[in-house]
């Protein structure tokens, strides 16, 4: 039994490394297409982390929505926009990279200090479980309004992007 535990732990480390490597690839790559691939890899790793957190449903949703839809859409944007081979000379260089890394690590250190000084106590009693049926029950009873608002927002986004992208290849938006 303990063997499965260590296998799961090894998988956790693998997903963590996948997440970080993909994120570094997305941030530091010279070509935008590589950045999109890095984003997809990193999102797959995060799906594995959701699996470890006990929610199979969200892991599947992460793969479906993020890796399947958002990454493909961004890849389409890369291909329709500038040429894929680009950006190399436009990235930050030298002192500016150091400044960016310094400011970002300052943010991380402040977050880490807050995290280290805070104790999070688990809830005294838990209702329900992590199952899909309980999620669906909550989604349609208590969070019904937010659920409907999300669908309206998605509809608005679809209509808005169709209207924005409708103009011809060389023309402005009609």
């Amino acid at each position: 039994m303990i063997v499965y535990r260590y296998i799961a732990e090894a998988l956790f480390y693998a997903f963590m490394i996948l997440t970080f490597m993909g994120a570094f690839m997305a941030v530091r790559s010279q070509m935008l297409m590589h950045a999109v691939v890095g984003l997809a890899v990193s999102l797959l790793g995060i799906a594995g982390l959701y699996f470890h957190l006990g929610s199979t449903f969200l892991a599947v949703m992460q793969v479906l929505i993020y890796v399947g839809a958002v990454c493909i859409m961004i890849a389409m944007g890369v291909m329709l926009g500038n040429t894929p081979r680009q950006i190399a000379e436009k990235n930050l260089k030298g002192r500016n990279v150091l400044l960016a890394i310094g400011s970002c690590s300052a943010v991380f250190i402040s977050l880490f200090v807050v995290l280290a000084q805070t104790g999070f106590a688990p809830a005294a009693e838990r209702i329900g479980d992590m199952s899909i049926s309980f999620v669906g029950e909550n989604l349609l009873l208590q969070y019904c309004l937010a659920f409907e608002l999300i669908s309206v927002i998605l509809l608005t986004a679809i209509i808005g992007s169709i209207i924005l992208g409708r103009g011809g290849r060389d023309g402005a938006v009609k």
Binding site: V27, L43, A121, I127, N138, A146
Partner: protein, 105 residues
């Protein structure tokens, strides 16, 4: 060492994702690169929600629902952003935010 059932592990991973997204926003000089980095910011937030949902929340469905909402909002945001970027590229022939700073001539 077993670290996968510890709340702080996930919070630190989420913080690192947030910082990577922030660095990407500074580093990338194209609108698509900034959009990709904003996905990391959103995923850090979503991972935070899920971590607290698993380890501390009294109702373990709430965090999953919020993470679903974040995914939906990110999809909507990406759709709008990609179409805006395509329109911007059609008009300016470039995606450098430094060039595309005047909105109306």
């Amino acid at each position: 060492m077993i670290i996968s059932d510890n709340l702080n592990t996930y919070l630190i991973i989420a913080a690192i994702l947030l910082v990577i997204g922030l660095y990407g926003m500074i580093q990338h000089r194209s609108l698509i690169g900034m959009l990709i980095s904003s996905e990391f910011l959103m995923n850090g937030a979503a991972l935070n929600f899920m971590a607290f949902n698993t380890f501390t929340a009294p109702n373990p469905a709430v965090g999953q629902i919020y993470t679903l909402f974040i995914m939906g909002l990110a999809a909507a945001e990406a759709a709008i952003a990609v179409s805006i970027i395509i329109v911007v590229y059609r008009r300016f022939r470039d995606e450098d935010p430094a060039i595309v700073q005047d909105m109306k001539h």
